[in-house]
Amino acid sequence: MHRYIVNRVVLVIPTLVGAAALVFLLMRLIPGDICAIRLGSGGAMADPRAIAICHAELGLDRSVIVQFLDFAWGFFRLDFGISMWSGKPVAEEIAARLPISLEIAMMATVIAILIAIPLGTISALKQNSWIDHVVRTAAIAGISMPSFWLGIVSILVVLDVTHALFGAPWMPPIDYVPFWQDPLRNLSMVILPALTVGYRYAAVSMRMTRSTMLEVLREDYIRTARAKGLVEKIVINRHALKNALLPVVTLIGIEFAFLISGLVVTEQVFNINGVGRLFVLAVQNQDYTLTQALVMLTVVTFVFVNLAVDLLYAWLDPRIRFG
């Protein structure tokens, strides 16, 4: 098992190098010049000497290869540099916004797991019954609705309902307060976005749970378990569910990894100053260092979540042992 973990970590390196090269290249392909943007008016009125000084300050006067090596070396030392736009350390910019995005992602994951696994299982057990049709319709509706539209509609509903009940509409607070400082205020800010994202997340996971349960329930060992006279509850919980959960765990892991920086539109709708919005701003401002750091954060999260999921497999299914 230790050798497997080491091998997997080693295999991560080419993925990270490839991702670093791709984001580095993409950013440099974007037309425009951050120094020109910083100096205003698209640089049309800027003094060329000022632009040259700016380039030197940001290291953009060096060759592309040197810039890439500097970026890669900095990444492996966990030194992400300075934001080319704000001048603050990139780590500080991300650290200020990561807690809220992480909190929303975690809450959405919990909501998704609590909804998806029981409903997906019931839907599989009652295939083609009205319960199955209702659950499938709800799941497909969840993946069909744009999350930003769901967010807008949920805000509308909350406004109307609170106006009708309390005489005045209620809006979630927009300034972030950590959970341990004011749990109620914190939850009132994140609950709507978490539910919006969680519903879609649950829909995707529910469909996968149903699909894998249907396959597992047709296996010979399930027939054997029933033939032995085992109670249906034990057949499902002890024999079917653990095997059916393997692909579901993978899916939940991958979705979580993408959620951290994938909350772009949700954060836009709910006016949340999270990592997703930071991503959009970084790309629009051509902030190379910040964009590169954010992409690498996403890629690292993705590959290590995949590794964690693979290790979880061994716990879920003792037959799986990685050499």
Binding site: P14, T15, G18, A19, L22, V23, L26, M27, L29, I30, P31, Q127, N128, H133, R136, T137, I140, A141, I143, S144, M145, P146, F148, W149, L150, I152, V153, I155, L156, L159, P169, R207, S211, L214, E215, R218, F258, S261, G262, V264, V265, Q268, V269, F279, V280, V283, Q284, Q286, V295, T298, V299, F302, V303
Partner: protein, 299 residues
């Protein structure tokens, strides 16, 4: 046993095929009612997009400042937006944009992914290893972030939006197709084809690709839905199709939030249009999967 002459055999086959295919469609509708509902939804939206010029009562881009944010009425059945544009007309023309983007992305991304996935599985070894690592890198980027970057490089507009959404779909398709193709690579008829001296491209295109078409077609329907959602998201962020083109996501970006409490129809109807279209594709794709996968048929 007398062999039928090929033309006669073909005619007999054709005659036998037609009633069977009609019976197959009826059987599909009977076994998969939800899938049929999905197909009908998709066809309604497709017809709306194709016949937008005849169906829409107004031009999608003509402003009417005397009729700004009007609620639904007989004159404007879905109301008007903040520029007085008829929402129903914009939704009908938006269906065309959605389908153009959805189908283009799904077909280009799907076919490219299909070829890459099958080739990767067929050749195996270092080619497979390198290709999978490259696809890993592209897949590790969230779809919206990859699309953001491509739009930033190449600019907005329908063609660049299609490119932006197609690129992330390719590795997703290639991965799924590869897993199916890996199983097919080991079957005897592939060995037989090699033994007969057939070239790589012939074996891949004539023997392997047809056998992975079932999961591929199912994925294609899902991709159309995903592409429509991605286009809506990009337009909402202001990075997709630009004004005054009618696009559902763009309609939500405009006045939806600003007028949410005073003119909620601006937010509701475009969202319902997106949801119904993707819903239709998802229902149909699910039904197709249930119909094509014998393991998932009813007990």
């Amino acid at each position: 046993m007398v062999d039928l002459a090929p033309p006669f055999a073909a005619a007999v086959d054709d005659a036998a095929e037609t009633p069977r295919s009609r019976a197959g469609i009826v059987d599909f509708c009977r076994r998969q009612p939800l899938g049929t509902v999905g197909l009908v939804l998709v066809l309604v939206m497709a017809v709306a997009g194709l016949g937008a010029e005849w169906i829409a009562p107004y031009s999608p881009t003509s402003n009417d400042f005397a009729a700004m944010t009007e609620p639904p009425s007989w004159a404007h059945i879905m109301g008007t937006d903040q520029f007085g544009r008829d929402l129903f007309s914009r939704i009908v023309f938006g269906a065309r944009t959605a389908f153009i983007v959805g189908f283009s992305c799904a077909i280009v991304g799907g076919v490219t992914g299909l070829v890459l996935g099958v080739a990767s599985a067929y050749f195996g070894g270092r080619i497979d290893l390198v290709l999978q690592r490259v696809l890993d890198v592209v897949m590790a980027f969230p779809l919206i972030i990859m699309a953001l970057a491509v739009i930033a490089v190449f600019g907005g507009g329908v063609h660049n939006v299609i490119l932006a959404i197609t690129i992330p779909l390719i590795p997703r398709c290639a991965r799924v197709v590869r897993s199916s193709a890996l199983a097919i690579r080991e079957v005897p008829y592939i060995d037989a084809a090699r033994a007969c001296g057939f070239g790589h491209s012939r074996i891949i295109l004539r023997h392997m690709v047809p056998n992975v078409l079932a999961p591929f077609l199912i994925m294609l329907t899902a991709f159309v839905g995903q592409a429509i959602l991605a286009e809506a998201s990009l337009s909402y962020l202001g990075l997709g199709v630009q004004e005054p083109t009618a696009a559902w996501g763009l309609m939500l970006q405009g006045g939806a939030e600003e007028y949410a409490s005073t003119a909620p129809w601006i937010a509701i109807f475009p969202g319902v249009a997106i949801a119904l279209t993707v819903f239709g594709f998802s229902l149909f794709g699910d039904a197709l999967r249930d119909a094509l996968d014998p393991k998932l048929r009813e007990r």
